[in-house]
């Protein structure tokens, strides 16, 4: 019998989050029903505030894929794409997206999705993004606009890099949006969205940094994917996001005051024996099962890098109404996916220290060459710098065939028992 509970426990913020996501897909469905299109774009380097200035609601194929993964429909989409000739080794997000398009362009909630009236390709460190939208362009015949965000190869942002992105925003992206929407660009409207973004971002940072407490009132990886949901989708720059993050923080403050841990899908988490930092996105098709492997052994994620792919707010970045296009450019340049290997090592090592972690886990994605390359080196380097042991686990994003539960459980358990041994001999100090 599975030890995983059949009914799912949720806290207040999770219910709110669920309502927001349902509302988002509902609104997309209404657009589709009305025969209207929408811009499609990516999470890292998304320009939600700029899009909202022109009123359209973005469609985010990555979010559709991961939501389909959690709802167990991505496997079919992936197989469909393979039937069309896409290789087994290709990024599973791409295949889920292509498959979903061919299966009637229906979103994960069952609502139809609007067709793309613009493919806004924000290129932020993932080379596959280019190919993905190239393929979708072939399928949908939608116009494509590329925002080329220079990779942080030297580990920082120069004035030239920022100016290069701003120039593209001004000369390429904004005119394209004006053309698609038939509206003139209103910079004051953009400023207002950016002001709301910054407010929500302040509370989001409070939420994520709550993982520094003992016990941690949140799970900063599995639990935190719910927290980042609204700001990763279409809610950044809206009052709804401001309210959601304010409420979430209030809820977490209550938990801190009561000395409570996070609510897992199987109920409130018990004793926290291990504090972990996690690198890499979760597996979505077996999300609960994967989480269960950790929380059932008393392991809580105190921080993660995945929650930063939509922006590194905890390192000080905020959208700035006074520097609208510049701050959008900095946002894009600053996404976790756009960091070079040494910056990623720095960040993970800092997290291990700042969050007082016992160790860290690298969850490597088999079909993601651009992000998985170098992860073993990251692991070694972080181990060397922090003196804390790392674990290396491999599966995939939304291709259920890559999740070998017995093998992964074996690694997770072995790793946690190893940490337990270290603690038993006093090695955790």
């Amino acid at each position: 019998m599975s030890p995983i509970a059949t009914s799912v426990r949720k806290d207040r913020s999770q219910e709110q989050q669920k309502a927001l996501i349902a509302d988002y897909y509902g609104r997309l469905g209404a657009l589709a029903a009305a025969g209207q299109g929408a811009p499609w774009t990516f999470v890292p380097g998304n320009l939600t505030e700029l899009l909202l200035t022109f009123d359209p609601l973005p469609v985010l194929p990555e979010i559709n894929a991961l939501q389909s993964g959690m709802r167990k429909t991505s496997g079919e989409q992936v197989l469909h794409a393979e039937k069309l000739g896409h290789s087994e080794d290709v990024c599973a997000y791409v295949k889920a997206s292509i498959g979903a398009w061919h299966q009637g362009n229906v979103g994960p909630t069952g609502d139809p999705l609007p067709k793309p009236n613009l493919l806004l390709l924000s290129y932020t460190g993932c080379f596959t993004f280019l190919k993905w939208f190239e393929l979708l362009r072939g399928e949908t015949k939608a116009p494509t606009v590329m925002l080329h965000v220079p990779y942080q190869a030297q580990g920082g942002i120069t004035n030239e890099m920022r100016a290069y992105v701003v120039k593209q925003l001004r000369e390429t992206v904004v005119p394209a949006l004006e053309k698609v929407s038939g509206k003139k660009f209103d910079i004051d409207k953009l400023r207002e969205h950016l002001r709301l973004s910054a407010l929500a971002e302040d509370d989001l940072v409070r939420v994520l940094e709550a993982g520094k407490h003992r016990p941690s009132p949140i799970d900063g990886y599995f639990g935190a994917v719910y927290y980042v949901g609204p700001i990763f989708t279409a809610y950044r720059g809206t009052q709804a996001a401001v309210d959601y993050y304010r409420d979430s923080w209030a809820e977490i403050e209550e938990r801190i005051a009561r000395g409570e841990g996070p609510i897992t899908p199987d109920g409130p988490m018990g004793e926290q024996r291990f504090r972990l930092v996690v690198e890499g996105p979760p597996n979505w098709t077996h999300f609960r099962e994967f989480w269960h492997m950790f929380h059932s052994e008393g392991a809580v994620a105190v921080a993660s890098t995945y929650t930063k792919v939509g922006g590194l707010y905890d390192r000080g970045f905020r959208h700035d109404p006074d520097r609208p296009l510049e701050s959008l450019a900095e946002y894009c340049l600053n996404c976790y996916t756009n960091l070079n290997l040494s910056s990623r090592v720095d960040l993970i090592a800092d997290y291990v220290r700042d969050y007082d972690a016992d160790g860290f886990v690298v969850h490597s994605i088999k079909s993601c060459d651009s992000f998985s390359a170098g992860q073993l080196l990251i692991l070694r380097e972080v181990e060397k710098r922090t003196g804390k042991p790392g674990a290396f686990i491999e599966s995939d994003l939304v291709d259920p065939r890559y999740f070998s539960a017995a093998n992964i459980k074996n690694r997770v358990e072995s790793y946690l028992q190893m940490l337990g041994q270290k603690q038993a001999v006093g090695g955790h100090a």
């Binding site: 088999k366 073993l376 070694r380 181990e383 042991p389 290396f392 491999e394 599966s395 890559y402 070998s404 017995a406 093998n407 074996n410 690694r411 358990e413 072995s414 790793y415 028992q417 190893m418 041994q421 270290k422 001999v425």
Partner: protein, 444 residues
């Protein structure tokens, strides 16, 4: 006597090790896992405890009763006699199971009556049992199943030619029966087998049983019947979650292999374990505690099962692969260790006229190259280096590994124990000694 038990439920084999309260090894047992872990656990345990009885006998043999040469010969004879008793007991169970399957197979596939032929084969297998455990006989597979399958196969072919109906019908009886015989706990009687074994060992050395009654037989039988108390059991391996054990009685095999290797070779810093379906590279500290590890991912290419499959494809016993590969003069270069494609690869190469030993040498190298990659991932090979798991029994695998480690990391002391397959179970038993005692109703 207080006993601590470690059980390693591997994907291919299940191992049990029993320790005394000093941490000394009293007994080892091994069986095929099949899909029934519960039975595998019971059988391995039972075999280990039979071995404990033998160890007890060995320890109980009073000093000075026999001179050194006779003592050694006697203990060797005793060990073989014990194994023979165990083998006979398994053969009886198999014969019973086959008798039950005969009418089933006869109803399914028309042909001449099978009963008399099965009885004749059983009789012949009984006759073949004694030479298997005769003095100086080469030790064959540890598994009754392997020995029985090979014998039945040969005898079945001969009988089929003599009118037993098709060979397939006879094999159908055997295939159904061996599964059932393996999956039932035996009715092995320690007392009866001890009496048999002691008697046989005395006879082999031409010692007078009457004269030895007080000096040898009585103390040995007394030791045999000593009460064994299982204080604690710890389980590990792939099937560990299926064991009726509490949480603290279950340890990951990574930790068990680390600790087991440390116990066998205290200087160990790096452990490579190649098991049935996974390969593990483990780094341990001076106390045998794991500091880092890497495992193969979801694909078990290049693990023990791969070699098992190759053996089947080539119609060889698993233990014959290594020696044959060592005869190779021109190893073939093989990159794929995909088990599913292994058969096609072998047939393809044989068609090209390549020799079996050269293909095998290439396959062994491919297996070890995969392991080398995991070793690199886990942090390299440090001195001393201990190789464990079923594949460590294969001398070609050991040789290739030694060469590649030296090439890549320089000279390393490489430890391989003849009992390497029990490393995980030994580690589990050592954890059992450390785990607070509790009443073990579920498994005691």
């Amino acid at each position: 006597m207080k006993c601590f038990v470690g059980i390693d439920l591997g994907s291919t084999t299940t191992k049990a090790v029993v320790l005394d309260d000093q941490g000394r090894i009293l007994g080892r047992g091994i069986t095929n896992s099949r899909s029934n872990y519960e039975v595998a656990c019971a059988v391995a345990r039972e075999e280990a405890f039979a071995d404990v009885r033998f160890t007890s006998c060995e320890r109980a043999l009073p000093d000075g009763v026999l001179d050194a040469a006779h003592r050694e010969a006697f203990l060797d004879a005793l060990a073989r006699a014990f194994r023979l008793a165990w083998h006979r007991e398994r053969l009886d169970a198999l014969a019973d199971a086959m008798r039950r399957e005969v009418p089933v197979v006869e109803a399914l596939f028309a042909g001449p009556a099978l009963g008399p032929h099965v009885e004749a084969i059983v009789l012949r297998m009984r006759e073949l049992a004694d030479p298997l455990f005769a003095k100086g006989a080469p030790r064959r597979s540890d598994f009754f199943r392997d020995v029985a399958t090979s014998q039945f196969h040969t005898l079945g072919e001969a009988f089929a030619k003599r009118g037993a109906g098709s060979f397939e019908r006879l094999m159908a009886v055997f295939d159904k029966a061996i599964l059932k015989a393996e999956n039932q706990e035996s009715h092995f009687s320690p007392q009866a087998s001890a009496e048999f074994a002691i008697g046989r060992a005395l006879a082999e050395l031409d010692l007078d049983a009457k004269a030895a009654a007080n000096s040898i037989v009585r103390p040995l039988l007394a030791a045999m019947s000593a009460e064994l108390e299982t204080v604690q059991t710890v389980g590990t391996g792939y099937g560990r979650a299926t064991l009726p054990f509490s949480r603290e009685q279950i340890r990951s095999e990574i930790l068990c292999h680390g600790l087991g290797a440390h116990a066998m070779f205290p200087g160990t810093r790096t452990v490579l374990d190649i098991g049935g379906q996974d390969t593990k590279a483990i780094q341990v500290d001076a106390n045998g505690l794991v500091t880092s590890f890497q495992m193969n991912d979801r694909c078990a290419a290049g693990c023990g099962r791969y070699l098992g499959y190759i053996a089947d494809e080539m119609n060889l016993g698993l233990h014959e692969l290594g020696p044959l590969a060592q005869k190779s003069c021109r190893p073939v270069r093989i990159n794929s260790t995909c088990t599913v494609f292994a058969g096609a690869e072998i047939r393809d190469r044989l068609t090209l006229g390549q020799k079996r030993e050269d293909i095998l040498a290439g396959l062994h190298r491919a297996v070890i190259l995969r392991a080398m990659s995991l070793l690199a991932r886990s942090g390299g090979v440090h001195d001393e280096f201990t190789f464990t798991g079923g594949v460590a029994k294969n001398e070609t695998a050991v040789k290739v590994l030694r060469d590649l480690v030296t090439q890549n990391y320089g000279e390393r002391t490489m430890n391989v124990s003849p009992n390497s397959i029990y490393t995980g179970a030994l580690g589990a038993a050592l954890f059992a000694r450390r785990t607070p005692a509790r009443v073990m109703e579920a498994v005691a």
